[in-house]
């Protein structure tokens, strides 16, 4: 479950983080918030919850006056021109676990947000104090940036301060300067695919439905086997790109599929039916049913590994500005 405002504030106190708090009626916009806390010392923040086309999420937290151009940011992250857009409402609840209008860097305290990338306006550093919502938009807290950094460190996060108004050129000779801030993992939300598809431009096959990854078996009478990881990590089982890079995960998935099939084939009935031959029967069955799928998965694994190798090699021989940084001996 997500942290409540009270739990979060208690945590701040435990960490001996110095902050002031201001209660006010629920505010949905920065303008409204300014009405209540605009006079207090500190830079008011605006917080954007964004997602890219590959279901990776970002919080951009900036001073209210800082101009944030999503197109520029998208290019600087290496997502191309139209890669970033506002995340859908459902994602707010699922990923950040905060109500509408309460986006805040502090939402990263929730485990569900572990793959969300945080971009902080370097303008915060020039302020005595900064104002954020503490997981709920009926309160604002003000604290020094150092205290914010202290909090982020406590949850194992780095503070990435970015000049959000900068617009450096991005091209063949100028790699996207913020590319390192792109999360390595995407987050696929349950029951979202149909809605997500209608929110986005024409068919993007990237959104793979979590709940719909059921194996349709050869015979209609067979129980349907779920491709889901038996350890029930819904996010991981539908992220092909990560399981095709992680050996452990890859092997786990193969073993899950095999053991699921094995277990479904060994029943009282089949034992009675085949007796001592059951081993041979099940073995053949596994081979027949899984061969094709395992081949597909392994091909993807191999393709991913090759692609990584290819890009490393390309990088090694591409960089002209860092003379002889990489060498083949």
């Amino acid at each position: 479950m997500g942290f409540s405002k009270e739990q979060f504030l208690a945590r701040l106190q435990e960490l001996q983080i110095e902050f002031s708090q201001y209660e006010h009626p629920v505010v949905m916009t920065v303008e409204d918030q300014a009405k209540y806390v605009g006079n207090s010392e500190g830079g008011l923040s605006k917080n954007l919850f964004l997602k890219d086309k590959k279901n990776r999420f970002y919080i951009v937290s900036a001073l209210a006056d800082t101009k944030v151009d999503l197109k520029v940011l998208s290019q600087r992250l290496g997502l191309g021109k139209g890669g970033l857009r506002m995340a859908p409402e459902e994602a707010l609840g699922e990923v950040l676990q905060v109500p509408l209008g309460s986006v805040t860097p502090f939402a990263l305290v929730n485990d569900s947000a572990r793959n969300v990338s945080l971009l902080l306006d370097q303008g915060f550093k020039g302020q005595e104090r900064c104002l954020f919502h503490p997981l709920s938009n009926d309160m604002t807290i003000s604290l020094n940036v150092c205290e914010l950094d202290k909090f982020l460190r406590s949850i194992g996060r780095d503070s990435s301060y970015v000049d959000l108004e900068a617009n450096p050129p991005v091209g063949k000779d100028n790699p996207p300067d913020l590319a390192a801030l792109v999360p390595s993992d995407s987050i696929v939300l349950p029951d979202l695919p149909e809605k997500a598809a209608s929110l986005q431009a024409p068919p993007k096959a990237h959104v793979v439905s979590n709940n719909k990854s059921t194996e349709i078996t050869a015979k209609a009478t067979e129980p349907s086997r779920k491709v889901k990881n038996v350890k029930d990590k819904p996010v991981n089982s539908v992220q092909p790109s990560s399981s095709f890079k992680d050996v452990g995960q890859f092997v786990e998935e193969i073993l899950d599929k095999t053991s699921a099939l094995l277990l479904s084939e060994i029943t009282e009935e089949t034992i009675k039916q085949h007796g001592q031959q059951l081993g041979v029967v099940v073995s053949n069955c596994i081979r027949e049913r899984l061969a094709s799928e395992l081949k597909t998965d392994t091909t993807l694994y191999m393709q991913t590994a090759y692609t990584e190798g290819f890009h490393v090699a390309r990088k090694m021989f591409q960089s002209t500005d860092i003379h002889h940084q990489f060498r083949c001996l």
């Binding site: 068919p203 597909t296 993807l300 191999m302 393709q303 991913t304």
Partner: protein
Amino acid sequence: MDSKAAERGASENEKETPQEQEQEQVVNPWEVAAKEGGKIDYDKLIDKFGCQRLDPSLIDRVERLTSRRAHVFLRRGVFFAHRDFNDILDAYERGEKFYLYTGRGPSSEALHLGHLIPFMFTQYLQEAFKVPLVIQLTDDEKFLWKNLTVEESRRLARENAKDIIACGFDIRRTFIFSDFDYVGGAFYRNMVEISKRVTCNQVVGIFGFIGEDHIGKYSFPPVQAAPSFPSSFPHLFSGKDNLRCLIPCAIDQDPYFRMTRDVAPRIGYHKPALIESLFFPALQGETGKMSASDPNSAIYVTDSEKVIKNKINKYAFSGGQDSIEKHRQLGANLEVDIPIKYLSFFLEDDAELEHTKKEYGSGRMLTGEVKQRLIEVLTKLVERHRRARAAVTDEMVDAFMAVRPLPNMFN
């Protein structure tokens, strides 16, 4: 791989005069229409084009040479015609390898099952024979023929590349290229050699170009012919001018490659061999046409389980009888039944297919059951494709499309 209008055929083995053709079925890269709303007569087609039927002995030979069961498309006669495939097999037996060449005209983002068929088969050929493959994305062609900008056609090419990659090609032996990126150098030199050996009258004859057509169209055919020659890919086949080429494609592409085969000996290369497939029928039946404007005429790789179920149940043309009693009595008409046809493409189990045909044909099995089974099979297929597609990154596309050596491409 498209071109326009009535096919007349440039050279090899053409028997009919233009007048005789008008009353017949029409098959060319642009148009496929059966006679009087009937079915395509493939025997006549083979006869007219002058290619050969793929007989069972060739299939046996493939199984022996590759030490594995022939692909379901071969067993069921989906790939049913060829030119010089036996020469390819003869050479293979002698230890002489070959390379595969196929392609796609990236005109839309959405691919349907019909589009996947040549790629699924090519993937099998690559795996079974362990040979390299070049895949041409004719983005220039689509720009020339359709209302697209250059940027848009290049973008579509990359998007289509992802679906193609999802078919499971071996990245260690596959080179994907877009015309806009790759044409030049040795490839272009071959294009010009080819252009010098094909007359305006010939392309008008094959593709039906007219005086008002812009010159881009006239100059396109050599682009699609060039990949048939190994010297077009110096980074892959340098020094291997004798390497043979096998082109898996749908039979409507035959006129195109007849032109190429005609030119080949004149510039000192082997004629490319062809292995050709039937047309994949639209959901509404063989007489119907799969069209991008009617999403219900085909199953798309982006269709969800629900959509597939709905499309099959609602639109798949059934050969079953109107009432259950009549059906039990007369059985289904397997000749026109679409679910059975689709199952013969995609249901791997020969025994199950035979059984289903028998039961359905005799009336013991109902249409609903057959459709249900088809929905299962297609859902599994589409699901697997989607899963693979989701794992294809832009970086992976870059790697497939990089002009790079492919060491061990024959191992």
